[in-house]
């Protein structure tokens, strides 16, 4: 796609994201019905869960990009993997901050070791480990290989982590239950918010990807000019 086309797509995406987020905000705060037991604070849920779903999708993008890098050895896959990992970390950070805020209100404790929150924490730690590995390798090619390997390991590990935490939780239950089923009237709002967050994911990964491509291009150029 040429430059003009890119710019038009960027603008379209930006407009779509802006409108989507505005609509999501409306649905979460006004469109969705008021929850019986927890009242309006439950509305945190409409941004907490979609952020988690988008964060998981970012993880999946990182996995696919890591795999493609190992197969094709084209550095653009590495740039995409990095962009997905950073975006995923940001989205998981949202989950990890909004979760405790809700928990403090609903159950008077900041942390509950619930399966979802704990898995989000471990996932966040895996992303952090991915970024740390990248940080401490200087050579770009080795960095790409090492982090691709770790990205694949982390993604394969994630379901095992989820399962293990859930199993452990079943053995050591706590009085705090996470909101299970969702009333059907709440579903439209949730879907709108999920869509908005997926757009956010797309937007952020794209932005970060182009930054990384540009950064690397400039780096290579600087090396040529310097020599």
């Amino acid at each position: 796609m040429d430059r003009k086309g890119q710019q038009r797509l960027d603008t379209a995406l930006w407009v779509l994201l802006f409108a989507g987020m505005l609509l999501a905000l409306y649905m979460a705060l006004l469109g969705a019905p008021r929850e019986k037991t927890m009242g309006d604070v439950q509305r945190i849920f409409y941004f907490h869960v979609p952020a988690g779903i988008a964060g998981l999708s970012a993880f999946a993008i990182n996995f696919a990009a890591s795999l493609m890098y190992l197969l094709k050895k084209n550095r653009r896959w590495d740039h995409l993997a990095l962009a997905a990992a950073e975006t995923g970390m940001v989205l998981m950070a949202i989950v990890l901050v909004t979760g405790p805020i809700w928990a403090k209100y609903a159950w008077l404790v900041w942390w509950t070791w619930s399966p979802r929150l704990t898995s989000s924490l471990v996932l966040w730690l895996l992303y952090a480990a991915y970024l740390l590995t990248r940080n401490y390798i200087a050579d770009p090619e080795r960095k790409a290989f090492a982090s691709a390997v770790f990205g694949i390991v982390a993604f394969v590990d994630a379901p095992l982590v989820w399962f293990s935490i859930r199993w452990w939780r079943d053995l050591h239950p706590s009085p705090m239950l996470e909101t299970g089923g969702l009333a059907p009237e709440m579903r439209p709002a949730l879907w709108v918010c999920i869509a908005a967050y997926m757009l956010l994911l797309l937007f952020l990964v794209r932005r970060r990807y182009y930054l990384e491509c540009a950064r690397r291009d400039v780096e290579l150029l600087a090396r040529r000019v310097g020599s």
């Binding site: 471990v122 590995t133 390991v153």
Partner: protein, 223 residues
């Protein structure tokens, strides 16, 4: 192929037998961790037996990580890795040999630490030993299955000793959770039928990551 795996395994074994460096460090650190836990759990004297599985596996994991750190560190220092890579063997074979060596060293360490834990925490175990051995073996294999790969990843970086625990611990969480529960079942409840699930998950983890690491090892070794 088994012969080549044995060759790699045997070499690591011989090197270790000559100096016993790794084993010394691993056991020593494991003992330190056990002692620290004694003080950490001072307030919970009565329920110490309940905490023993967790204490054991934490000390196993920490000393295991130390052992893994050294695995590629000494090779890099002495340039042995180059020699190893020039052999006409599939990289996956190198992985398996190293993984088995790491597992053996860890198991020896675990045996020593376990006996010490019996003494420190005043435990009586006899019939439980075969079951414990099974859990230790499967858990250790799973740990080194992914630990060997990640150790090679970390060995390529500037901060290898610091980086390995950071990237390893989140990944081996499933092993830890199931191993601690399984050990707890054996020591505290005696309901051996309940061991089926954790052992299966640990076994699945080992197979999945053993295979994955075997396939991915190529990409991590320096050339």
């Amino acid at each position: 192929m088994a012969g080549k795996i044995w060759a790699v395994f045997h070499k690591d074994l011989l090197v270790e037998m000559r100096t016993k460096d790794s084993l010394n460090i691993m056991v020593f650190f494991g003992v330190v961790v056990l002692v620290v836990f004694n003080f950490a759990l001072a307030g919970a004297r009565e329920s110490v037996r309940a905490a023993v599985p967790g204490v054991l596996w934490v000390s196993f994991a920490f000393s295991g990580t130390l052992g893994l750190n050294r695995m590629f560190a000494s090779e890099k220092e002495n340039g042995c890795l180059q020699g190893l890579l020039m052999l006409p063997v599939d990289r996956g074979v190198v992985y398996l040999g190293k993984m088995l060596a790491a597992s053996l060293f860890m198991l020896v360490t675990e045996a020593v630490l376990f006996v010490l834990a019996l003494v420190f925490f005043n435990l009586q175990v006899w019939e439980e030993i075969p079951y414990l051995a099974l859990v230790f073996v499967v858990g250790t294999l799973g740990f080194s299955a992914v630990g060997t790969l990640l150790s090679a990843v970390a060995a390529n970086t500037r901060m290898r000793e610091v980086l390995l625990p950071l990237i390893l611990f989140p990944v081996i969480l499933p092993i830890l959770v199931h191993a601690v529960e399984a050990t707890g079942i054996i020591l505290n409840s005696g309901d051996y039928a309940a061991l089926k699930l954790p052992l299966s998950v640990m076994g699945a983890f080992t197979v999945i990551f053993g295979t994955l690491s075997y396939l991915l090892f190529d990409f991590v070794l320096e050339d």
